[in-house]
Amino acid sequence: MTVRLIKLLTASFLFFCLGIALFPSLFPTKVEKKVTKVQNVDTPIVRDTKVDDWSHDDEIVDDDDSAWEEEPEDTTPERRIGRQDDETFDEDDVPLDARQNVVPEARVQAQFTSALGEMRRLTDKLEKQEAENFTNDEFKADDWADPEKIYFTLADRIISKLGKLDDATILKFMQEPGNRLDLARVTLIRKAGSQAIRSVTTRPKGKELMAYLCSDLNWMTNMLHSGPTKNMEQALCYLETLYGKVGAEELKVPVTRRIATTTAMEFAREGWSENDMINRFNYYNNSWKEGKLNSYFDQLQYWETRFVTGCKQPSDGAGNWGSPRNLAWHRDNVRLPMEQYLGAEGQLAYRLRNVAGDSVFSAEYLAPIWKYVNFTTGWAYREIGGVCGALSHYATFSALAAGLPAATMGEPGHCAYAMRIGNTWHRGNSIYWQHSLHKTFWGEPEWGYLHLTQRLYEERFKTCAADQLVAMADFLTARRKMKAAFSCYEIAVKAQPNNWPALKRYAAYLKLKAPNDLEKWMTLHDTVMDGMGKEHYHAAATMQARYVYPNLAPLIKDRAKLNKMYSGLFNHFKDWGANRWDIAPILDAQISTCATDSEKKAYLREVLRVLMRRPDYSGAVLTWGLGYISRLPEGDGKIQEEFTNMLVQAMSRTGASSKQLDETWATLGEAIHAAAKNKERRTFQAIGKLAYRKCKKKFNKKGPRIKGFPGRVVSATGWIDTATTIGDMSNCCLHWGVLQRYGGNMPGKFEGKAGLTVGMEKKSDLTGVVCITHEKALKKDRPFYLEVSDDGQNWYRVRPNGEIKGGEIRFNLKGSGAAGKFVRMLREGDKYEPGIAGFYVYGRPQKN
């Protein structure tokens, strides 16, 4: 009986516990449902997360506009529209049309004529119709609670209107603004995903926003076709927040709408917080309303506004350049005509240390001043000074704060910036050709892509027409109309060949649907060369290397033809284009399609044949070749030797006439720089000697007078490298001269642990080192050190420190027992040093 009672009690208790556990999910309360998360978002937006204490069950919940609505139930899985990203091609569950399930044959240029004519007409129409601004409020706020229904209604309507799905019908369809709005709505649902749209509609103003946004063709077009649309679902949530704050009336003001949309898009893309997004919007919107921005801001398009409203470091706080308070300070205190922002860094003193001796890289540098400058970054640096990073940010954020496009960018060991004056981008505080922009649309940070972005969106309506055709192609793909989808992609990239994302998307589709279609890949290759390749060399070469060659090369059986195609890429380009760029990844991609050593040799022969005739590229191809050899697996060293010989032969064929002298000098300079960086002693010496033979005039006739140390100059047959970033490599052969008796020239800079490094032929017992600078009397405030190593990795310091005599530094190592294969000279501190004229290591090579 007792046992039974215990069992009964236990069972009752378990039921009670289960009841408690399940109660909230079976009978959810209003408060718990106020927690809303956006699906498919990395950083979900969570609002009003209260813990329900059940104390208000009997209260009447006020269901006014500001309350969160109940999450609608999920639609059945097969009806959901998944979020489409740039890499995937989802298909709806629709019957397959056999006539459309074919890859159309590759078309020649003549076959595009009619379609391209239609595209031109579409471009003209877009321009005319923009002024009229088409609106259609067919879908009311409540309709957006069921985005799938809207999607399928529109999809059916579009397909039925497209009729037989040939080029003419599709392009005629596109000319009607109502049809374009339908396509834009479908595109938006696909980009965000229907579940996310549903989540947006559960927000207080979500349905209203969706109805408002999706009734306005211009707004939709600007949102969808003015740059990347990453995290669209988050962008819609942000836009809903702003819509809730300013209301429909204010969002009718074109500039406010532009600021709101671009801020929401950029903050969603970057994954920045909602609070910062609101502050950024307020900053630009209020500044504009108060007439505090540069009037040029009024004419910006959506894409270029994104550079402004999407500027980095948005949070408030000391050190952040994009905080509202810092932007406001720049806006009010550095108010200049556009042209003068380029160079505004001159308002700051260049300082590595402040007057208290704290390094600019330390936290102490600005610490005591923050309160004084009201935690305003630009102001702090203007008071104390800074180095390249602070200077470049100062100029950049002065322009951005005024509403003008600009971006900071990295260079090796340096920070510079890009600034747009009118429609042209200029470099500011720049010292080197390698730029890595801190603001990009496609994740490609090099200068050429900025130039490409500018050109692409300058042709606004043409690009918009092409973008809309890509959206149509994506839609047709989803509706399993492969033949028509192919046509749309092909016409889109032909009509606007600078459209990097469209080309990428088409290449991805081709890889998916027709990976072995040689003709189609060749057509794409030619489209890139004839279009983007006319002006944007870097982007065109990268498009081929990344997306075309890996698919096209295996289909070409004739290696000679393939090699011709590879070298032809560079033959196609007149010069470097907008800016010098790194050809190594292109050459790497090309050689990676060679399977055997003999194929590699044939390839190398061909590219050297073509590129060594091109003064622009010759130094770069040699640099790449030397780097490639150094990366090859060791093996028996035969292939390395053969490659090296090919490179040296190619170098010796460079002209030495007075006309070609400078070109040869520059080519060899770049190559010897690469050899030093790769620690290739033999190549360094070979190039040095070659340069001396061919360009003797460039070297000193007489060297410095040196009082040496016992033994011989063991460094003369080695290599020498400097830690300094060298912008212009054309004089690098003089680095070799630094090791020779007639001397040379190389920049001396000893930042912290950096300095001059010499690699010798053999390990040697050292007796002394002499360094000759171009200075008559070196300052003696900081000592020079010498370090020695056997392997170039592990270093030990030798005593005594350098003795400074005029412009000469001498290390007397007699009796010190110092021995090694590598020697480097260092100096504490962070100041530029005078150039080096000679560097001589004395000693006796060890026998083994």
Partner: protein
């Protein structure tokens, strides 16, 4: 009698009306006619800036500035952004073959330029340029300083030796940029010959930092006290010397133990008291909070005098400027811990600082 009353009244009216400034139409014209008087140039954005438009309306159209600049030559100078051909012609006409002086950070502004085209000062902060009355007050100070400085430069030109140096230093004490060509070979020699007076011209704060770097505390102290005793340095320069010295002691390194908080307190207080209103006065104040009291500089509402020159709220409304005169000597409260730091036992002994006047 009535005649006399009328005469008096007329005289009174005449005295009440400010004397008018000479107005030039072009920059070369202004440079040519200004003589010993300064040129006041109202430089503004003519085709890109609504703030300039408003300022132009308030300052120029309502004639608020020019009549009160007395002997100065007044010039309006529009700046054009991406100028059209017509605007380019207008600029060429106004500038002739001259260029506006560099060094202006913000437009619209009132620049004070001498007859040789040297920029001597500018009213350019947003809070000054917001209101013609405030701008005028600042401008009058600049103009008064201009005359005072010119007078001293003129005296220096006529004087010789130590006297010359004294005049030059007095001129450089005035809160106005000295023309770059004032200190020529002869002037430099006078300054160098006059005991320690050349220090100000030659001063480079980083040289002090570098000189201190390898010194132990005792010799660092002697070095700094010797510099301070030499004289010739401006207040700002003396603060910079103190900043370098205190930084050297604060960091320690190379076998040196960082100085005690009490010692740092003394040094930073001394540095602040040289001129509490300067940037480095504020620096010292901040240093006292974070390195002596161990506190933090918080983003609390800042004192009124700082608000005046650059407060910016989170929503981006700024009254900001570069203000060199902001922070007073009021103590900034430490956020976390307001108690004075404990004495550091490892700190160098007082013997290391013999002669230091703590």
């Amino acid at each position: 009698m009535i005649k006399n009353i009328f005469k008096m009244l007329a005289l009174g009216v005449l005295m009440a009306v400010p004397s008018f400034a000479a107005v030039a139409r072009t920059y070369p014209d202004a440079l040519a006619k200004t003589g010993k008087n300064p040129i006041v140039i109202f430089i503004y954005g003519a085709n890109y800036d609504k703030v300039s438009e408003k300022t132009y309306e308030a300052f120029i159209k309502k004639n608020k500035i020019a009549p009160y600049v007395r002997q100065c030559t007044f010039l309006e100078m529009p700046l054009y952004q991406m100028p059209s051909d017509r605007e380019k012609k207008d600029m060429e006409k106004r500038l002739g073959n001259k260029r506006l002086p560099g060094g202006i950070r913000c437009y619209p502004c009132l620049a004070v330029v001498d007859a040789k085209g040297n920029l001597r000062g500018a009213v350019q902060t947003p809070e000054e340029m917001k209101d013609p009355e405030v701008a005028l007050a600042s401008l009058k100070t600049l103009v008064a300083n201009f005359y005072a400085q010119e007078k001293l430069i003129e005296k220096a030109r006529k004087a010789k030796g130590e006297k010359k140096a004294e005049f030059l230093l007095a001129a450089s004490d005035i809160d106005l940029q000295m023309p770059s060509d004032v200190i020529g070979k002869e002037e430099r020699k006078s300054l160098e010959d006059a005991s320690a007076l050349g220090n100000r011209v030659e001063f480079d704060p980083l040289t002090v930092v570098e000189a201190l770097q390898t010194k132990d505390y005792s010799s660092a102290n002697s070095y700094v006290r010797n510099l301070m005793a030499q004289g010739g340095y401006s207040k700002l320069q003396r603060q910079m010397i103190m900043a370098a010295y205190a930084g050297h002691l604060r960091r320690g390194g190379e076998g040196r133990t960082p100085a005690s908080k009490e010692r740092l307190r003394a040094l930073y207080t001394e540095m602040r008291n040289i001129d509490p209103n300067s940037t480095y006065g504020a620096y010292a104040e901040g240093a006292l909070v974070i390195w002596v009291e161990g506190g933090k500089l918080t983003d609390d509402p800042i004192p009124t005098e700082i608000n005046r020159v650059g407060n910016t709220s989170d929503d981006g409304n700024s009254s900001g400027s570069s203000g060199n005169t902001a922070m007073g000597s009021t103590t900034i409260p430490a956020a976390d811990d307001d108690t004075p730091g404990a004495v550091d036992d490892d700190a160098p002994s007082d013997a290391d600082f013999e002669g230091d006047d703590f």
